[in-house]
Symmetry: C2
Subunit: 328 residues, 2 copies
Amino acid sequence: MNIKDLGGEFGLIENLTQDFSQFDQKIKKGIGDDCAVIDLGERYQLISSDTLVSNDHFNLNWSTPEQVGMKAVEVNVSDIIACGGTPKSILVSLVLTRDLDAEIIQGIYRGIKKKCDKYEIDLIGGDTTHGKELVINVTILGVGAYGNTSLRSDAKVGDLICVTGDLGGSTAGLEYLRKFKDVEKLKVKFPYLYKRHLEPVARRGVLQCVSTAANAMIDVSDGLASEVRHICKESECGAEVDFSKIPLHMETKLCAQKLGQSAEDWALSGGEDFELVFTVSLENYEKFDTGFKEKITVVGKILGGNGGVWLLKNGMREELKGGYDHFS
Amino acid sequence: MNIKDLGGEFGLIENLTQDFSQFDQKIKKGIGDDCAVIDLGERYQLISSDTLVSNDHFNLNWSTPEQVGMKAVEVNVSDIIACGGTPKSILVSLVLTRDLDAEIIQGIYRGIKKKCDKYEIDLIGGDTTHGKELVINVTILGVGAYGNTSLRSDAKVGDLICVTGDLGGSTAGLEYLRKFKDVEKLKVKFPYLYKRHLEPVARRGVLQCVSTAANAMIDVSDGLASEVRHICKESECGAEVDFSKIPLHMETKLCAQKLGQSAEDWALSGGEDFELVFTVSLENYEKFDTGFKEKITVVGKILGGNGGVWLLKNGMREELKGGYDHFS
């Protein structure tokens, strides 16, 4: 979930968060995280919503309809996982264009079904209407263990900032396609980047190790820089990220070289990697077993509230900027 | 919620509905009703999603942004009410156009806030992105008393078909605006139709009387004909609706006269009245007090499964056709 700062608009609404204990439904967390969290008494319900717009979040020249459907589910699953939860059910709302081929719609649903099967998610409803461009909105409901969510606001001063897997791969694939407009070539030359961009997968496997150990957690949907800033904002802390520590896949580096761009910048600003960024105390980090430590990378640490949010690069400290902006 | 029949696509997915009792979350009702219903053990959670697309579901030449925001919430509240529930929280996902004035966005949020205040609904999340046209998707969560939902599938043979309030008013307002393109004139000449079309309100007041007495229930979002057919399909029954009994407001009749159209056809096919259609046994109907009976109209009755779905008009039986189709 990605609530953009619309200036004062959300301010109007944030005040609405109330406690409806007379209905036994408490909002533990409203706007400002990957998921909203409703306290159901003996467990948490996690809810998130993500919208994919044609030619922005996906491109049917490059993606098959099935890949688009799969992605629509994965980006939402990623939000549930980032809060330490298990996805349970989705609602799919589609805005279809009038000239859209029935095969495309069927393909999108095949992709959705494939992922529903994979995660044992129920498709419980939605809405279908028409408009000028294809829009796919998925709302996802999940469950989380009581008292054990990892919110953006849970970072502690001194925590290490860790990243799962590698970053920038999805943007690398996108940039390659933008330049060469040849999805088959991407698939042959950079098979990993093809997968990362067109068939992203939420980072579920590490959750068992991370969820009890981590403090704050967020998924990388808008680039590492933006996600770290989200954590700092919600946790009222500072942070520093070491440019040289950003984990990159070999194909991402090669692709950046070929295109004359910076792989690290893709990682910081590109988005859609759907890896997890989490903060963890040094003590808990030390308890991770060696095999798990190899799957994650420490990229920085959490500073005090007045410490600023920094990128360490070539021995210098600069402001941690960047992050995908849909309104740029 | 309005799942259109997309041929085979939803068929693929309906098979997914499973019982996840290991997670203590049972889907009582998935696709096919105003809301999905999740069994939370001691109560039901109701979930629905509705999408409004600019120039289809609203028109900023005629509606103020605030009216658009209000409508986006009311149409979703109506779905929760149609299942006999109480709205609790919403997620709002917006697709904004790049040139959209900030005042319009603020106005939409003001409208949303106004309705959140009215119904004591929390805005708990959502998503904002951009695209070629303004799209507002609202997902609503509500609670229902355990065992006391009124689903489309709950109609019984012999039930009376009742309608709250009057029908066709929203379409009357729309048709007037389409013809004269003058919202101020509509407001002066037909103040009731102005309200019905631009400031629709979910029919909440009758719920206390209806909810325990009714069998099936649905809100009128796509016209009476379409809603009765939905009930018949889900309840595996037939029905007959008496054309002459369709409740019409005086302004709706006058407007139809002025435009040379049929007010009854608007009621049958026009949609967006957000009244409730419910079926009730004769026995329970007789128990309604006189004051309540004046607020509702018996428009027909439920027939057996092979009885067909009929409109009685001028002493003849014809097939009950019509209903707003977004794909027409």
